[in-house]
Symmetry: C3
Subunit: 351 residues, 3 copies
């Protein structure tokens, strides 16, 4: 992890980002920081114009910014149309993890004799690679991580420390699996025999597409019959639960603490806010956004933004209103009766 | 994990399930699949009559079904009263994990000298069994799993990879603990000394009954004084938190992301939907069901189904309604005043 | 873990707690239990006067209690002003973990050559200490735990089994990190390029102050630029998610299943109930309490208690009310119209 990178020159950065350089291209930077925090060794960026006020006073060596903000920049500018995207690219150029050299198989790792390892595979201390596993070129398995029998990890994927992949799981290329995540645990399936529960063995697997990221301590359960399927470029935050036989479409993003119950299908380009819950056996179409902590109990067949719940308020006010919620049907009926008495028709006709 | 099972004959299956075989009992199947996905090597089942329409076109070798659906079945039928239960039994017959042979103690496992191991115990690579542990006959400890000092794991229990059991925990027979779950971490107990928090050491333990399953990344905290107790045949999904000194009655089931605060007692045969939260020090009687993401802040003393919250709706509609929620007490009072003016009595009398 | 403590005498306990002893100071106790469960070898406490009724019948050897309850105590009394705080101190005196002797570095642990270990450090079996790590005096690293490159763990901190600390994390003194927790995983940051997601490398770190506790399976993500910062004496329960660049002020406590989105700042002495969700980029001032499962989407600038949501009710009643919630804006407008017709002014004037 020792940072042995040579500082990047601003002209190198401009070239790699496709930005127009205005200023001293020979200058080298060693860090990336916010407009406010950046010092003379750092590059920064202006993507959200709410921070435009911080631009004139920046101490940074250079700023990534849009053409229209160029004139307000007191230092070297790297001009491009989407500075936030430029920031993303640059962050990866500076990431010691992404740029780490392969370190081979640690002496304490346990790798099954019949496991197949590609070129430039790294396997950390105390890791376990079980029988029949296939690790693609450039795969990195963190210390203490475990890959179960017959699973496949696609090329250039990275499992951080203490991640767990069960047997029979397929992970695509360039995946990032964070510590404590578990891919392929049993789905929650039981039949009731009148007295108690009988386990339904979960015979399916999990398939993750390419460019999937799974946050720390998240769970993706294996299918009962058939697989749980996560599409390409799906981004999953920490503390998320994805139940058996869920399908998530390409390019969708799930924020922290989301829970999705069994067999629900989420479309492409969906975004689920933190703590959202989806009931089982639903269909969520492409392009749906659900705001934080909403509960979705019915399928959503039109793209758009959906919400439930009520925002926080001062507790004594909340108590009064929450009690009234229990009377809401009664209140509605009383309003209808008053309308009948007054000869007035309600605007919804609901009673 | 290599699948070396001999395909099962349909007459074997019928015998083991107590089903009436109608068709070719010599035929052997190698898999189990849904009515829609099953191919000629597979057996399938019809439990939910919503799928009856898929029966005539099935490509399966055989179908588990009820007597009344027998005539619509184009292939060999295994007739029984509860095909879903039959499916559960059959799934376990086909499960490579359940049917795996004991593999002994891996050379890299660390097993304390005074640990007591029963017959046919398997301990995976990099696992740690601390001092004073007792593992019953047929116990399997997955790679990287850790069993803390003086804990006991009952016979035929299975800890998947990277599960953690603290010291002084008792796990019953036939438990299944999934990867990343943690049994026996400290309950959340602190006393405030006026300036800050003073830790209350959590001196109790955790007792899991027989036939308990705990999903991936779930936490069951140890008691402060006395134990946290999980009854027999309790099924716990992934991402669940059970706080100190909670008691869960036999045969209850907790779906993903449930959280139960300290000292709450949940009865027998309860079912908590995904994301349900129970406050501390409550009593929930036997036979209670709580629907997904409901918050329970008072004890429930009558069996039945309970709910809270509001379902998701289109965001602009939701915004209008959620704002009104903050006015709800005021609206209710205004309705009462209108009723007094009109000489009308409200149907609830609430004001 | 073998309990080799010599039983404590009541006069020793009284001295260490600063309590006034009334009764037999020579008597020795070996355990601590509730008023109801305590037997003749145990000491107990009366902090919540709801349990005063159990005092006369106690079988305990001695009771910690307030001066005003002394006369009702049938056995030896240890009298002090805050018996709950006394219980907390005593619990730690009896905790075998806190009082364990250092055990050195286990033969199977992997410790980088350049890691710096203080005095009396213990490192468990299968643990991994990467390059550049600094472990302070008295640090204990549980079996299977991993400390990433260049991270620092302050003196007398305890990582339980299978905890994970990424690279570049700073943990203060006397921290307790429970099993399955993950400190320093990537924050959830992506830029959209029009077609899909581009990862924003998370270049910041995590800084935990002194006396921080983190529960099992909780996640604290590293900063994108700059650090995620957890203040001194912050207590975090199990299953909590703290996103990148969140700051939590000193002495705050977060109950189980809390989720805090990116860049939100929580003040000092705050208390977040179980399952609370805070949106990103908020400011929560000092002294705020939020009740269980509330959603906070706006900053809170006044100390106090805040809530959202609605409590659980019987499902058929709930269904009727939840449907009406979707009509709430319409109902409010109908009430306003009725008020205009009747010549009555609503008490809020809202329409």
């Amino acid at each position: 992890m020792k940072d042995t990178r040579i500082p990047l020159s601003l002209s190198d950065i401009a070239n790699r980002l496709g930005a127009r350089l205005e200023g001293d291209g020979e200058r080298r930077i060693s860090g990336l920081a916010t407009l406010k925090d950046a010092g003379p060794e750092d590059i920064t960026f202006l993507a959200n114009r709410a921070y435009l006020k911080d631009l004139p006073g920046t101490r940074a060596a250079a700023v990534l910014l849009r053409p229209e903000d160029r004139d307000a920049c007191p230092v070297t500018a790297l001009v491009l149309d989407n500075p936030y995207l430029g920031y993303a690219e640059l962050s990866r150029m500076l990431d010691p993890l992404i740029n780490a050299q392969p370190s081979g198989v640690h002496a304490t790792a346990v790798v099954a004799e019949d496991a197949v390892l590609g070129q430039d595979v790294s396997i950390g201390a105390q890791a376990v690679i079980e029988s029949g596993v296939v690790l693609g070129d450039g795969v990195t398995i963190g210390p203490g991580s475990i890959v179960g029998a017959d699973s496949q990890i696609g090329e250039n994927s990275l499992l951080h420390a203490n991640a767990t992949v069960y047997h029979g799981v397929v992970v695509g290329k360039r995946a990032i699996l964070h510590s404590g995540c578990v891919i392929g645990g049993d789905g929650f399936g039981f039949a009731h025999d009148g007295a108690g529960w009988r386990k339904i063995a979960q015979l399916g697997g999990v398939v993750l597409g390419d460019d999937v990221e799974v946050g720390s301590c998240s769970s993706i359960d294996r299918g009962a019959l058939g697989d749980t399927v996560i599409g390409n470029d799906v981004k999953i935050d920490s503390q998320v639960q994805i139940a058996h036989n869920v399908h998530i479409g390409d390019h969708s993003a799930l924020a922290g603490c989301v829970g999705i119950a069994g067999s629900t299908q989420v479309g492409r380009h969906c975004m689920l806010g933190g703590g959202v819950g989806l009931s089982g056996h639903l269909t969520i179409c492409d392009g749906v956004q659900v705001t934080g902590m909403s509960l979705v109990t019915n399928s959503i067949l039109e793209p758009g933004v959906y919400s439930s719940g009520t925002g926080a308020m001062e507790n004594s006010q909340w108590r009064r209103n929450a009690v009234r919620f229990k009377q809401l049907d009664s209140i509605a009926k009383r309003v209808s009766r008053l309308e009948r008495i007054s000869g007035e028709k309600g605007d919804s006709g609901a009673s």
